[in-house]
């Protein structure tokens, strides 16, 4: 029975792994550089696996979620800075996800965009309020599995597999190094977006993981995000096979969905759009809760995704307010795909404030007792902290230099 539960969790994770940031950056990277950036995706996936495992272990052993530990470890002032930056980035991401959702609905229904924004927002509100969270996870997780159609599409497009293989070998592009670096930063930022670890650790605390669940934590992190990474590869391969050299930049979600239609016809298009719909909605919900978790955990409020709204009133009001705020921003007509790029780049800047405290806590014996980081976790943890700091420092300059990837 436990194996079944693990499998369910993994399936939900795959469906939930790809959000609008991954979608946009992986396909765009494929359209611009073909398969050459596949190795960067691998780095991103390993990074999120390493740090999710750490967060999950912190939750299981100390009973604390990330922001609890952040405030305790680095203090009020630095914690407040981390909180503010996390909230800003979170709100941008949430806005982009809702906009993406509205576009999806438009492609499926043909109804006007503005109306669909409202429907999307109200729909999310109703689902999150009335539906028990276990079901929310299942619905959006499995729905997101429709994204696997892109994996099928990738194969059916008969990419040059030799070139694909070559893309997994790290190498630096010499013709447009700045643009290449921009996409590398974007892919890593999209793979390691902060809300993912906040959400994962909060879930671990709510499910009352203990030391006996450390194995489950590792499996969840590795297989869930690993297979999710596999979906990212598919997206980049589709982007490379279809759009490279065609002068098509996948600025529209419709163009991305084409990636499934061209090789698989109408059914591919439908599955692709449904997959994107569920993946992006699921991500929107995760992002929304992440924002509420961060505030509640920083301030010591009652919180929880499985609680009745009456059990955590301030927490509930927080996520409703965040949703309304994001809706408001989407209503101003901002382009969700453009906003996604900004959200990913700013996420990249916020990565150090997210991951450094996690690393500190995971090594602290007063929290972790005998379960502090082993050698592998520490070596990889430090390597990624270095990577993250490089990304954080270079993200905004690269964004400016490449004119947000247009160049």
């Amino acid at each position: 029975m436990k194996i079944f539960k693990v499998a369910l969790g993994i399936l939900a994770a795959i469906g939930g792994f790809v959000d609008i940031g991954d979608l946009v950056f992986n396909v765009a990277a494929g359209a611009t550089f073909g398969y050459q950036l596949l190795w960067v995706v691998v780095i991103g996936v390993v990074g999120i696996i390493v740090y999710s495992e750490m967060c999950g272990r912190v939750a299981a052993v100390s009973g604390k979620a990330v922001f609890d530990a952040v405030r305790e470890r680095v203090g009020f002032k630095a914690g407040l800075a981390a909180l503010l930056s996390a909230q800003v980035v979170n709100l941008m991401t949430l806005t982009a996800e809702i906009g993406g959702l509205a576009i999806c609905l438009q492609l499926l229904s043909g109804l006007p965009y503005r109306l669909l924004i409202l429907i999307a927002g109200v729909g999310l509100l109703i689902v999150v309020w009335f539906v028990a969270f276990e079901w929310v996870e299942r619905i959006f997780g499995y729905g997101g599995l429709c994204m696997l159609v892109f994996a099928v599409a990738a194969v059916k497009l008969h990419p040059a597999w030799g070139a694909v293989g070559h893309g997994f070998v790290p190498h630096l592009e010499t013709q447009s190094p700045v643009l290449y670096a921009y996409f590398a930063v974007g892919l890593l930022g999209a793979a390691m977006t902060p809300y993912e670890v906040y959400f994962y650790s909060s879930g671990g605390v709510e499910e009352r993981w203990g030391p006996k669940d450390l194995g489950l934590n590792k499996v969840n992190a590795m297989i869930g995000y690993g297979l999710g990474g596999f979906l990212s590869f598919a997206l980049m391969i589709v982007g490379g096979a279809l759009f490279l050299g065609q002068g098509i930049e996948p600025e529209f979600l419709g163009t991305i969905a084409l990636g499934a239609e061209v090789p698989l016809g109408q059914i591919g298009l439908l599955l692709g759009l449904v997959g994107i719909l569920f993946a992006v909605s699921g991500a929107a919900i995760d992002t929304l809760f992440s924002g509420a978790y961060n505030l509640a955990q920083f301030l010591g409020w009652e919180w929880g995704r499985y609680r009745h709204p009456r059990g955590a009133p301030k927490f509930t009001v927080t996520w409703v307010v965040l949703l309304v705020l994001a809706l408001g921003v989407v209503m101003t007509g901002v382009d969700p795909v453009q906003l996604t790029e900004y959200a990913v780049i700013f996420s990249a800047v916020a990565l150090p404030l997210t991951y450094i405290p996690i690393f500190l806590v995971a090594n602290d014996r007063t929290y972790m007792r005998e379960y502090t980081n082993g050698r592998i976790a520490n070596v990889l943890g430090i390597v990624y902290l270095v990577v993250i700091m490089v990304i954080a420092v270079s993200a905004v300059p690269l964004m400016i230099l490449t004119n947000v990837g247009q160049n």
């Binding site: 470890r73 680095v74 500190l360 806590v361 090594n363 602290d364 014996r365 007063t366």
Partner: protein, 86 residues
């Protein structure tokens, strides 16, 4: 009444002006009733401890006993001459 945050962060120096470091924390003894502050954790080593790097030992090498404190004024904590980081 003083607050913890109003003492921590101040520079700790001796009466003759020798700077020992910045106060980063306080160690208190939990007895039967009210906890009593035993020492101030001071200096750069103290900062590392505050961030949880390295295990705090029973008598950290970066502590100043509370008895050595003469007065708290301005933005400093003034301690008796001859106080060394223990």
């Amino acid at each position: 009444m003083r607050t913890f945050s109003s003492i921590v962060g101040r520079v700790v120096e001796t009466e003759s002006g020798r700077r020992l470091g910045r106060c980063h924390d306080m160690r208190a003894v939990l007895g039967q009733g009210i906890p009593r502050v035993e020492e101030l954790i001071v200096g750069r080593g103290g900062l590392l401890e505050h961030f949880g790097i390295g295990t705090p030992k029973a008598h950290s090498p970066n502590a100043v006993p509370w008895e050595a404190v003469l007065r708290i004024e301005g933005d400093r904590v003034v301690v008796r001459d001859g106080t060394e980081l223990v």
